[in-house]
């Protein structure tokens, strides 16, 4: 078990190093990062001074080593726009992004799991049709459009929720629904198919032939086994929500990392862009590692197969 955790952690660190390499070379794709980051009409001397200041004129390998050492020491570079360490700005925005992603995930789970389980247990029932429709809608309605429609209906016409910002507790409702909608659809689909699959297992038939009530079978056998399959799905959805909030945060002026990334991209503030890309990737990798460890803890089949 310990060996499994150590080797998975090591793999995750390698993955992180790979991500750093990509992020490092990304801003060098066009050849000259100075052209990318300095205003286009700036004179050549300004650009040269910028290269000097940022160290872009040094050999690539030295630049990368420097970048890596900086990150190990917690130095993610300076934002060009805010004149402030990128790390500080990111830490400030972090709670908003986690709040939004978490509420969106909870919304998805609370709606999807009951519909998926009850619908999957009664194929063809009205609730099952509702579940299948929601599953399809989740895949076909883009979240940036859903956000606009929600604002139009619930903020402008009905006035129930604010249309932007994070000042009130209920401010999170519309962005969380818009962000979590696709995950909700995905979860309904997967819960439903997990339940359908489990229903055909021998142990369900055995339980039924023993005369155990449907409700009890549902709670004890179907739900537990489906939950095992759903943990990884929920973890994937959470990382998707953490990394996928750019449109939603921009539309709702939600002060999180997605909104910050959009502003940084817009203002060509690439040191900040690099730092945000790194942090979001870091959380996703950490979340995946955590999920694998949790799985190994609760499912002996994984623990002993190593």
């Amino acid at each position: 078990m310990q060996r499994y955790i150590i080797s998975r952690t090591f793999q995750s660190l390698l993955l992180l190093l790979g991500v750093l390499i990509i992020i490092f070379f990304m801003v060098r794709l066009t050849g000259d990062p100075a052209t990318l980051m300095v205003a286009r009409d700036a004179p050549e001397e300004v650009r040269e001074a910028f290269r000097e200041k940022m160290g872009f004129n040094r050999p690539m390998i030295v630049q990368f080593a420097d970048y890596l050492f900086g990150i190990v020491q917690g130095d993610f570079g300076e934002s060009l726009h805010f004149d402030q360490p990128a790390l500080e700005i990111i830490l400030e925005r972090l709670p908003a992004t986690f709040q939004l992603a978490t509420v969106a995930l909870l919304f998805a789970i609370v709606v999807a799991i009951p519909i998926g389980i009850i619908g999957g247990s009664n194929p063809g029932s009205p609730l099952d049709s509702l579940g299948r429709t929601l599953g399809l809608l989740g895949q076909t309605i883009p979240n940036f459009w859903l956000a606009l429609i929600l604002i139009l209906i619930f903020a402008v016409n009905l006035g129930w929720f604010p249309s932007f910002g994070r000042d009130k507790t209920i401010s999170v409702v519309l962005p969380a629904i818009a962000l979590g909608f696709a995950s909700m659809g995905q979860l309904v689909r997967l819960t439903r198919s997990a339940v359908l699959e489990i229903r055909n297992e021998d142990y369900i038939r055995t339980a039924r032939s023993k005369g155990i009530s449907t409700l009890r079978i549902g709670a004890k056998h179907v739900f537990r086994n489906a939950a095992l399959a759903l943990i990884s799905v929920i973890s994937i959805q959470y990382s998707y929500l953490l990394g996928g909030s750019i449109y939603i945060e921009t539309i709702f002026s939600w002060p999180g990392l997605g909104n910050l990334l959009q502003q940084a991209v817009d203002g060509r503030d690439f040191p900040l862009v690099q730092a945000i890309a790194f942090f979001i990737s870091f959380f996703v990798i950490a979340l995946t590692l955590l999920t694998d460890v949790v799985y190994a803890l609760i499912d002996p089949r994984i623990r002993y197969s190593r």
Binding site: L14, L15, L16, G18, V19, I21, I22, I23, M26, V27, L29, T30, L36, R132, L136, Q139, T140, I141, P142, F144, W145, L146, L148, I149, I151, L152, V156, A182, Q186, I236, Q237, S239, Y240, L242, G243, G244, I246, Y247, T250, I251, L261, Q262, V265, D266, R268, F270, V273, I276, A277, I280, S281, V284, I285, T288
Partner: protein
């Protein structure tokens, strides 16, 4: 929707020509209501894109300030000359939506074509050669997949600059890892099945095994994946346009129209409504078609990413 379509089974016919196969697949398609609807929509969408100049009632670029901000025909102040209304510059919404189909389908199709080709070659190489080559290729694939996709494309699009060729190249490269992963998985599965081994022992060479045994078995899963990925890439193209990172504002694309629509959401809501409807219908078509293809061609395929 009726029950899931049965998997393709060509062996049931004695005489096999492309005519009997086509007739058979058509019968399978008609048996699945969702698949039929998806297919009809797909044909209509492709025809709309190809015949845009013929079916558009007006020039999508022609401004007419006197007819600006006109609501859809059935609302007060609307006119049947512009059935879906006009935008802030008086351009016909319907014609712009029709022309927008071109951008979406071009971006989605060529992006997925490049991604599918690159990914298939990488996955085939990794899966067939195994060993160190496999570790290196899959290592790179896993690093790419660790970066949240939306963050990845937004940052690269911002670096490379806004035009459709860049967007296609970005999709082609960033979306290839998922194809590589699926291809590799299939190759491993096929290699483990008995017939490759018996072909090898019968003296078949590498080329023969690849082209006669492995490639034909890859077509099903890859076409299914490509259908879903096209739907995803159409979302991402619209999203990038929405953030001002895809085609220039002069070109009518659904995302560009949404961006304008967002600014006038409360006063002229129809400007944001139609592009979203167009995206949703297109995604619906691809998803229904993909679901059907999955049932028919490849019941095992499970997607891990959104």
């Amino acid at each position: 929707m009726t029950t899931a379509a049965p998997p393709v089974d060509f062996d049931q016919f004695e005489e096999q020509t492309w005519k009997t196969r086509l007739a058979y697949v058509t019968r399978l398609l008609l048996r699945d209501r969702g698949g039929t609807l998806g297919f009809i929509l797909f044909i209509l969408i492709v025809l709309t894109a190809l015949l845009a100049p013929v079916v558009s009632p007006q020039d999508p670029l022609e401004q007419n300030l006197r007819a600006a901000k006109q609501p859809p025909a059935w609302e007060e102040g609307g006119s049947w000359e512009q059935p879906l209304g006009t935008d802030t510059l008086g351009r016909d919404m319907l014609s712009r939506i029709i022309y927008g189909t071109r951008v979406s389908l071009t971006g989605g199709f060529f992006g997925v074509l490049i991604a599918g080709t690159l990914g298939m070659v990488a996955g085939l190489t990794a899966g067939y050669l195994g060993g160190r080559v496999d570790s290196v290729i899959m290592g790179v694939v896993n690093v790419f997949l660790a970066i949240p996709y939306l963050v990845f494309v937004v940052v690269v699009a911002a670096i490379l600059g806004r035009n459709l060729i860049n967007v296609i190249l970005i999709f082609g490269i960033t979306d290839s890892p998922i194809f590589a992963r699926v291809t590799r998985g299939e190759v491993l599965r096929i290699r483990e099945s008995g017939y490759v081994e018996s072909a090898t022992s019968a003296g078949a060479g590498t080329a023969r095994i690849l082209f006669d045994h492995i490639l034909p078995n890859l077509i099903g899963p890859l076409i299914t994946l490509a259908t879903f990925e096209m739907s995803a890439m159409i979302f991402y193209e619209a999203g990038l346009s929405f953030l001002g990172l895809s085609v220039p504002p002069s070109i009518p694309s659904w995302g560009n129209m949404l961006q304008v629509g967002r600014q006038y959401l409360t006063i002229y809501p129809w400007i944001a409504t139609w592009p979203g409807v167009a995206i949703a219908i297109t995604a619906l078509s691809f998803n229904l078609l993909g679901d059907w293809l999955r049932d028919v061609l490849d019941p095992r395929l499970r997607r891990s990413r959104n």
